[in-house]
């Protein structure tokens, strides 16, 4: 049980030699670190570095094969999250574990020992209000969770942990779903909590600046091992990235300039509906030339997804026309479009871009089953496909033992590499890349961007959809901010000012108003 006299800086929890193996992979290898009261100790690592496993071990969801966890110097075994919670460990999940139809207070009380048969909402709400006051949270306890913004849901999860007496709070990607003002609020709450001698352990994949602002200590994981253990004041963005990835990372790629060739795709007056039967594309006209990247900048839900699907043949065109290399493909099916040289990298790589239960070989087949070079009389030529998959694995350095590896065992970054490689290996004339680097870590992001630039150099036209303005501005040739189904303008990237594009993404400025 937590000791009464904890001072700031005391070691509360210690991990010693934590090792966890899964079939074919060592997720954690001899990991040591210590968590001190009143400090923020960030755990940093790329996808697949073993963060999730470590987090699950600390919270009792997974038992380590070797190694010990010491609480106040005494060895403890967390057989289940309940043990961890009883010992003062709280978890704030990235995918919120809340019941949307219940109120804030009901969610906080859920699973609490006091919530037996009768709910004493009055006492509870007083106690929670006091907690809110102590830590500076503002939240309506009677609101239903579905009504809350993402940042408020996070507050509910934090309160839930605090109300159960958490002294150590594990935060899984705490800033990933939050808008910038919400991030500010979270950072403020973190400062208050640490001033009350709480220990916070955020697990972070990207967002290195957050680590630098908020943490006291950083432990960096790479491939299941600790590669660096340092105080934040001795760290920089570059040094942390280097430890994470294992090599120098270029944060800004050099723009590649190639001479524009003839237009590949010409879109005129294109309109289409979304799933809710709302007009999601409103009379778009644009073209993309050989060797050109057109960056569509916008906040998700402004018609980018519909645009990508219409071009890929997955959604029907209401009005307008699409020409590819001079051929009318307005109403062609997606199969015809694949065959004619359109390559689509979908936003949802797990549910749309791949089949989780399939091997990598079968996933590569998704873009080759119709290819006459890979089948004869309808019978697939296994050897050719196997060779192609092997080539993809080695060329893109996919972390997988071989073509028979099942896709669901791959990390997000590796899966995206497979999808990208599969699409690019067809040498498409037009590449539609929908949020190609979303959720990827630093190393994988850089890799994907490099590959897109390579394809551009080889003469492909690319439609790049991204929410990340830095990405758009660093690799596009022209940029089109999109708002409510329309392009606010299309301008060359050299002329584009960051603030203007940002304002247009929010629908604030029209082209005519720019000076």
């Amino acid at each position: 049980m937590p000791k009464e006299t904890i001072k700031s800086g005391d070691v509360i929890l210690e991990a010693r030699g934590i090792t966890k193996r899964y079939p074919g992979v060592v997720a954690n290898e001899k990991i040591d670190f210590e968590i001190r009261a009143g400090e923020v100790h960030a755990i940093l690592g790329e996808n697949g570095a073993g963060k999730t496993t470590l987090m699950n071990i600390l919270f009792g969801l997974v038992q380590p094969d070797e190694g010990d966890i010491l609480l106040h110097g005494e060895k403890v075994i967390f057989k289940s999250p309940l043990d961890a919670i009883r010992n003062g460990i709280g978890m704030v999940h990235q995918n919120r574990k809340l019941i949307p139809a219940h109120t804030v207070i009901e969610n906080i009380l859920l699973g609490h020992p006091r919530a037996g048969n009768i709910l004493d909402l009055k006492t509870t709400s007083e106690e929670i209000s006091q907690l809110c006051k102590k830590y500076g949270f503002k939240i309506d306890l009677k609101a239903k969770v579905w009504q809350l913004a993402e940042g408020e849901k996070q507050v509910v999860e934090i309160l839930k942990a605090l109300y159960r007496g958490a002294k150590i709070l594990i935060l899984d990607e705490p800033t990933s779903a939050l808008a910038p003002p919400e991030v500010e609020k979270l950072l403020e709450s973190i400062r208050i909590m640490t001033s009350q001698d709480m220990a916070l352990v955020p697990f972070i994949t990207h967002k290195l600046p957050i680590v630098l602002t908020v943490s006291n200590r950083v432990t960096v994981l790479r491939r299941g091992k600790v590669t660096a253990r340092l105080e934040t004041k001795d760290a920089s963005e570059n040094s942390l990235a280097k430890e994470m990835v294992g090599r120098e990372v270029i944060f800004r790629l050099e723009p590649v300039k190639v001479d524009l060739g003839k237009p590949i795709i010409q879109v005129e007056n294109l309109s289409a509906y979304d799933d809710k039967d709302c007009l999601a594309l409103k009379h778009l006209s644009f073209d993309i030339h050989e060797g050109e990247i057109l960056g569509i900048a916008g906040v998700s839900g402004n018609g980018q997804q519909v645009l990508a699907e219409v071009l890929a043949g997955l959604r029907s065109v209401e009005e307008g026309s699409i020409f590819l290399d001079g051929d009318d493909i307005t109403h062609s099916s997606s199969l015809v479009k694949w065959k004619k040289g359109i390559g689509y990298i979908p936003e949802n790589r797990v549910d749309v871009g791949s089949v989780a239960e399939y091997s990598l070989l079968e996933n590569v087949l998704m873009n080759y089953y119709f290819d006459g070079n890979y089948s004869r009389w309808g019978i697939l030529e296994d050897k050719k496909i196997k060779d192609l998959t092997r080539q993809i694995i080695s060329e893109y350095s996919v972390a997988a033992p071989g073509p028979e590896t099942i896709a669901k065992n791959l990390s997000g970054g590796n899966l995206q590499k497979v999808i990208l490689a599969r699409v690019l290996s067809r040498n498409p004339h037009l590449i539609i890349a929908n949020l190609p680097t979303q959720g990827l870590d630093v190393g994988a992001t850089e890799f994907v961007q490099k590959k897109l630039l390579e394809a551009k150099r080889a003469g492909a036209g690319i439609l790049l959809i991204s929410e990340d303005l830095d990405e758009i501005l660093s690799i596009s040739d022209r940029v089109a901010p999109m708002y409510e189904g329309e392009f606010m303008t299309i301008m060359s990237v050299e002329e584009a000012r960051r603030e203007d594009i940002g304002a247009m993404m929010a629908g604030l400025k029209q082209e005519a108003q720019l000076t």
Binding site: P23, L314, P346, M366, Y369, G378, L380
Partner: protein, 370 residues
Amino acid sequence: MRLGKYEIKLVPKLKVNGWEAALISFVAVLIALIIVGLIILKAGVNPLVGYKEIFAFAFGSKFGLPLTINRSIFILLCTFAFIIPMRAGLWNIGTAGQLYAGALGAFAVAFAFGAKESQGLSVSPAIIIPLMILGAILSGAVIGAIPGLLKGRFNTNEIVVTMMLNSIAFWFVSYMIKEGGPFMGGGGEGEGFKLLDPLFGPLVMGQPFTIIIALLLAVVLYLLFSRTSIGYQIRTFGQNPAAAKYSGISSYKIPLLVFILGGLIAGFAGYHYFAAVPGVYKITMNYGDLGDLSFYGIICGLISQMNPLAAIPIALLFGGLTNGGRFVQGKLKLGFGIDYALLGVLMISLVAFQFFYRYRITWERVKEDQ
């Protein structure tokens, strides 16, 4: 979990190879036999004697073995009719209706060539028999196409559609063979007319030739799913329809195709039982029992994990046990329903043991240093 001094753990398996799966199924069958053995014991009969009788009749006797083979072929064909749509993630609950349609199709061809009037055939049986088979599979395919078409075009629930079609086909057969229906047999006993001898399905080494087709189909379907582009498209659609659509696989053609293929094979099962099994050669009064029997195709398909080759021994087991179970029930005067109990427990056991396809149990001594 702690058990005494041992720590028991469940470890997820990445892959199950064929031999392991076979061993797991074998143990499952053994366990089921032990459980039902207790029931037989309760009925005052030595289970070993009971099982000896069951297996001796089903697989070792002159009378029982042909029955077992005929039933097993029938169940195997129904399994294929279920497996093909299931690989595309669609449930064909309509094998019963499809096989009724197949039977009617076959007998319609015979009827058209004057088989009922028994005035001698104007055309050679070598032409009529293939046409009967064609009639059977086309009729099955047409009935099968309906849920496939509705699924692909309007995303209708295929389970509801196939079940309703079962009823329609059932009563249509009844209309055709009973009380003055066009296919009514001479005796007026509510049966269909009997085929003329030359139109009996040919025998190969004393067994209906359909056994060869059924075994061949197992290999063809296995290769279809593992080696061909169309098989890949069907599987992808079944695994993840959104990913299939993204890859350009038609969400209209695949449901239609798998249901046509399924219906076609179920139609052939109808031909097999009513036109090729020795001693039958007519649409029998109890044709509804065959519809019920076709549901073993679903069980068989699920247990074999949609693998057409693995379905062969399972179909044989079910064919034998439905047969032998009924036999010992009479011979040893066991209670009514012991055959169903045996099949029921067997199914539950086989399904329960699929747990071991995904997990393995390990135990280790807990260290005493705590």
